[in-house]
C-alpha cells in the first residue's frame, strides 16, 4: 500500500447538472467563461464533494438507490464527463461498459463495430483482429456477427459490448448494471469473466443492484446517497446495512446468527379468554444489535376458508390478528435463551390458529427466521367473524 498503487483519485469532486432546457449554450462555447451552472439556475448535484482513492487490483462495488450519482461517478472516471469542481486523476487504460452497446453504430456489422469500438478504447485494428475470435466466441453471436447491429436484440448488444470491453487489456474496467441485462447464461458468463479479470489484477468498478454479485466480486463496497459517500467498507458491512441480512445470506457471505429453535403454546387447547403461556428457545450465535422480534397471531387457512365460505387462502394472504413486539434483549448477547410469555386471556372465536415468532433486523422488514406453534380454541366455528371483542355495553336515554 503506497501512493504508487493509486489508479483513481477523486479530490473534492462536485458534478452539478443544470435542469431544464437552455435556449442557447453560447456561454459554454466560450472557453474563458467558467462552465458552472451557477447558483441562480435550478441544478441537480449528482456528485457532492466526493473524495476517494482506488488502488490497483481493488474490485469496488458501488451501490445505492437510483439517482444517487453512481453512473455519474463512473462517467467521471471514464473521462466522458468533466467535474464541475475538484479534480479527477486516473491512470492506465480504462474500458467502460456504461451504456448498452458501448459505441456501436447501427449500420455497421458486429465485426466492424468490434474493431471500431476496440479503437475507441485504444486498441489497434491488428490487436483486435487477433482477439476477434475470442470476443465473438464469448459473446456467442458468431452467426450474427456479419449483420448490422441495428438488427441485434438488446441482449446481443449487451453481450457483444461486454465481450469487447473485457478483451481490450484494460487496467481499469467500469461496469454499469451489466449484470442485470441478458439471460441467466449470459449473467453467469459475465460474472465469471469479471472474476477472471479481478484475479488477473484488473481494477474493477461495478455498479449494480445485484447485491449478491457485488458481495461476491468486490473486496470493497461504496454506498452513495445523493452524491455523497455514505459507506465505504468491506462488502459484508455495507451490503448488510443497505440490503439487509438476507442479501448477505444470498451472497454466501454469512448466515443469520440467530436461530429461533422452537415455540410452544401451553396448553395446546385454550378456551376463549382463558390464560395461556408461550415459550420459545432462541439460540444466539453472534449478537444482533439491531435484531428485532415480533409475535404474530394468524388464523389458519382452514379457519379463514370456513369463515369466508371460499377457497383455502394461500399462506401469504392470511390476515394478522395480532402483531406484538417482543423484548429483543436476548438478541444482544451470545447464548441460548428461553423466552417465556404469559397471556391472561384473549377472546378468540373457536378454531385453529397459528402463533409465529419472527426475527427481523432494523431497518429492514425481511423475516430472517420464524418459529411457529398451533393453538386450538375448542368449539364450533361461527360464521363470518374471527375474534370476539369483550365490550361492556350501556344504554342511556339521550335528550336533545
Amino acid at each position: 500500500m503506497s501512493a504508487n498503487d493509486e489508479v483513481i483519485v477523486f479530490d473534492d469532486v462536485v458534478k452539478r447538472y443544470r435542469l431544464g432546457v437552455e435556449r442557447s449554450n453560447i456561454r459554454a462555447a466560450i472557453p474563458w467563461i467558467p462552465h458552472d451552472p451557477g447558483t441562480n439556475v435550478p441544478t441537480v448535484t449528482a456528485i457532492d464533494h466526493l473524495n476517494l482513492t482506488i488502488r490497483q487490483s481493488e474490485s469496488v462495488g458501488i451501490i445505492g438507490n437510483n439517482g444517487t450519482g453512481k453512473s455519474t461517478l463512473l462517467k467521471l472516471i471514464a473521462g466522458v464527463v468533466a467535474p464541475t469542481s475538484g479534480e479527477v486523476r486516473t491512470r492506465g487504460r480504462i474500458a467502460s461498459i456504461i451504456e448498452l452497446g458501448v459505441g456501436f453504430h447501427d449500420d455497421l456489422t458486429g465485426r466492424e463495430n468490434l474493431i471500431f469500438t476496440g479503437a475507441l478504447m485504444g486498441m489497434s485494428a491488428a490487436e483486435m483482429k487477433r482477439r476477434e475470435d475470442d470476443i465473438i466466441d464469448f459473446a456467442g453471436i458468431s452467426r450474427a456477427i456479419d449483420t448490422p447491429v441495428k438488427r441485434y436484440s438488446s441482449g446481443m448488444l449487451a453481450r457483444l459490448g461486454f465481450s469487447i470491453a473485457t478483451h481490450v487489456d484494460a487496467d481499469v474496467i467500469l461496469v454499469d448494471e451489466v449484470l442485470a441485462v441478458g439471460d441467466i447464461d449470459f449473467q453467469r458468463y459475465s460474472l465469471e469473466r469479471l472474476e477472471n479479470l479481478i484475479l488477473d489484477g484488473v481494477t474493477t468498478l461495478i455498479v449494480s443492484h445485484n447485491l449478491a454479485a457485488v458481495a461476491h466480486l468486490c473486496n470493497r463496497v461504496m454506498r452513495l446517497d445523493r452524491g455523497r459517500l455514505v459507506a465505504d467498507d468491506e462488502p459484508e458491512k455495507v451490503v448488510l446495512d443497505y440490503g439487509g441480512r438476507m442479501a448477505i445470506v444470498h451472497a454466501g457471505l454469512g448466515k443469520v446468527p440467530v436461530r429461533l429453535r422452537e415455540l410452544k403454546v401451553r396448553p395446546r387447547e385454550v378456551n376463549p379468554s382463558e390464560p395461556f403461556d408461550l415459550e420459545a428457545v432462541i439460540e444466539v450465535e453472534r449478537p444482533m444489535p439491531r435484531g428485532r422480534l415480533r409475535l404474530v397471531l394468524r388464523p389458519t387457512a382452514e379457519l379463514v376458508a370456513a369463515h369466508t365460505q371460499g377457497n383455502m387462502p394461500v399462506e401469504a394472504d392470511l390476515p394478522q390478528i395480532l402483531d406484538v413486539p417482543v423484548p429483543p434483549d436476548m438478541l444482544r448477547e451470545e447464548g441460548t435463551w428461553t423466552l417465556r410469555g404469559h397471556v391472561d386471556g384473549y377472546p378468540m372465536f373457536p378454531g385453529p390458529y397459528t402463533f409465529s415468532l419472527e426475527l427481523m433486523e432494523d431497518p429492514h422488514n425481511e423475516v430472517l427466521d420464524v418459529a411457529m406453534a398451533h393453538l386450538d380454541v375448542p368449539g364450533s366455528i361461527p360464521a363470518a367473524a374471527v375474534a370476539q371483542l369483550p365490550v361492556a355495553w350501556a344504554i342511556d336515554p339521550t335528550f336533545s
Binding site: N4, D5, V7, N25, I26, A28, A29, P31, P34, H35, Q56, S57, A78, V80, V81, A82, P83, E87, V88, R89, T90, R91, G92, R93, I94, I98, G103, H105, L108, E112, F116, A119, L120, G122, S124, A125, D134, D137, F138, D171, D185, R188, Y189, L191, E192, R193, E195, N196, I198, L199, D200, G201, A212, H216, N219, V249, H250, A251, G252, L253
Partner: protein
C-alpha cells in the same frame, strides 16, 4: 479434484475454491487466455446460490500503475501527456474515416461508384448551365478540363465543410459513452473526403490527357495547393463542428456560406472571367487560390504563386492550431450540452 467431495458440505468457502480451481485449469488449456465456451463445471459451481466471496489467488497480469502517466481532469483542464493523446489519435482517425466512407455507401447499389458518378452528374448539370446558358468559356483552356479541376477541389471543400460541421453533433451520442480524442470526429470527414478527391483526380488526369492539355513537370507543385486545401478544410471543419455543438445555428450559417463560397470561388468559370478590380476576392479566398494555382500548374504548365499559397498555408495552419485548441478547451463541456 480430491477435495471436491470434502468441500461439498462446506458451503461457504468450499465452492469458492472449487470455482477458482476449475478456472485455472481451463486457462491452462486455453493457453493462458481465458475463453468462456459455456461448457464445464464452472457454471454449475458458480450458479448455486450463495457462492461466497471470491477467493483471491492473485495472478497479477496487469502492469504496475506507475508505468502509466496520470491523466488529470478538472473543470477547466485535462492534463494528459501529448504523446498519450497522439498515440491513441492516429489509428483511430484512420478507422473513423474508413467508417465514414463505409457508412456513406452502405445499403446503396452503386456503393463506392458514387464517388465517381456524383461529380460526373454535377459536372453535367453545372457544365451545361455555365457553358450553354451563361456562355462561359475555358479562358484559353478546354472548358471541361478547367471546370473539372475546379469541381474536384470544390467537391472536397463541400464534403469536408458540410459533413465536418455537423459531425460532432451527429456523433454526440458517442461522446457520453467513451472517451477518445474528440478532434477525431471533425477530422474524419476531411480524411474521408480525400478518398473522393483521389477518385475525381484520377478522372481529371484522364480528361486532361484526352483533351490534349498534357501534364508537365509543374504538376509536382500540386502538393502545395493540396496541403493548403486539407489544412483549411480541417481548420474550418474542427472550428465549425465545435461551435455547432453549442449553437445549432452554425450548421445553417455554414450551409449559406457554402453557397456564397461556391459563387465566389472560380469553380465553374475561369479566374479571368472575374473583373480585374474584384480579383482580390479570389486571392484572399484560400480555396480560390487553390483552384487558380492548381489550374496554373496542371493545365497552364506554369509554376504556381508560391507566395500566395505559402501565405494561405501559414494562416491556415495557425487557424487549424487555434481550432484544435478551441475544441480541446471546450471538449469537457460538450457532453453536458450536446
Amino acid at each position: 479434484m480430491p477435495d471436491e467431495q470434502a468441500a461439498a458440505g462446506e458451503r461457504d468457502l468450499g465452492e469458492a475454491v472449487d470455482v477458482i480451481d476449475l478456472v485455472d485449469e481451463r486457462d491452462e488449456e486455453a493457453g493462458g487466455e481465458p475463453v468462456a465456451s459455456g461448457q464445464g463445471g464452472v457454471w454449475e459451481a458458480s450458479s448455486r446460490e450463495g457462492f461466497g466471496p471470491l477467493e483471491r489467488t492473485r495472478r497479477a497480469r496487469v502492469t504496475p500503475p506507475s508505468e502509466h502517466p496520470w491523466v488529470v481532469r478538472t473543470a477547466d483542464t485535462t492534463i494528459m501527456p501529448a504523446k498519450h493523446r497522439l498515440r491513441s489519435s492516429l489509428p483511430l482517425l484512420r478507422m473513423y474515416s474508413a467508417r465514414q466512407v463505409q457508412l456513406r455507401y452502405r445499403q446503396s447499389i452503386l456503393g463506392l461508384a458514387w464517388t465517381v458518378v456524383q461529380p460526373v452528374a454535377i459536372m453535367a448539370i453545372y457544365g451545361f448551365i455555365f457553358s450553354a446558358f451563361l456562355e462561359v468559356d475555358g479562358g484559353g483552356l478546354p472548358y471541361l478540363s478547367m471546370a473539372w479541376t475546379g469541381l474536384t477541389i470544390w467537391m472536397f471543400v463541400q464534403a469536408a465543410l458540410q459533413m465536418g460541421t455537423v459531425s460532432l453533433q451527429n456523433d454526440s451520442w458517442l461522446l457520453g459513452r467513451v472517451w477518445f480524442p474528440r478532434e477525431i470526429i471533425p477530422l474524419a470527414p476531411v480524411v474521408a473526403g480525400l478518398i473522393d478527391l483521389l477518385a475525381a483526380a484520377a478522372i481529371l488526369i484522364v480528361i486532361v490527357i484526352v483533351q490534349g492539355v498534357g501534364i508537365s513537370i509543374h504538376a509536382v507543385s500540386l502538393v502545395l495547393p493540396l496541403l493548403v486545401l486539407v489544412v483549411w478544410g480541417a481548420a474550418i471543419s474542427v472550428f465549425c463542428a465545435t461551435v455547432t455543438i453549442f449553437l445549432r445555428d452554425m450548421a445553417t450559417i455554414v450551409g449559406l456560406g457554402l453557397r456564397l463560397l461556391f459563387i465566389a470561388t472560380p469553380v465553374m468559370y475561369p479566374e479571368k472571367a472575374v473583373p480585374e478590380h474584384l480579383r482580390w476576392i479570389n486571392a484572399v479566398n484560400p480555396f480560390g487560390a487553390v483552384v487558380t494555382n492548381t489550374r496554373a500548374s496542371l493545365l497552364s504548365h506554369v509554376w504556381p504563386n508560391w507566395e500566395l499559397l505559402g501565405f494561405h498555408l501559414v494562416i491556415g495552419s495557425a487557424f487549424l492550431a487555434g481550432a484544435l485548441w478551441y475544441l480541446r478547451s471546450v471538449e469537457r463541456r460538450m457532453v453536458d450540452v450536446a
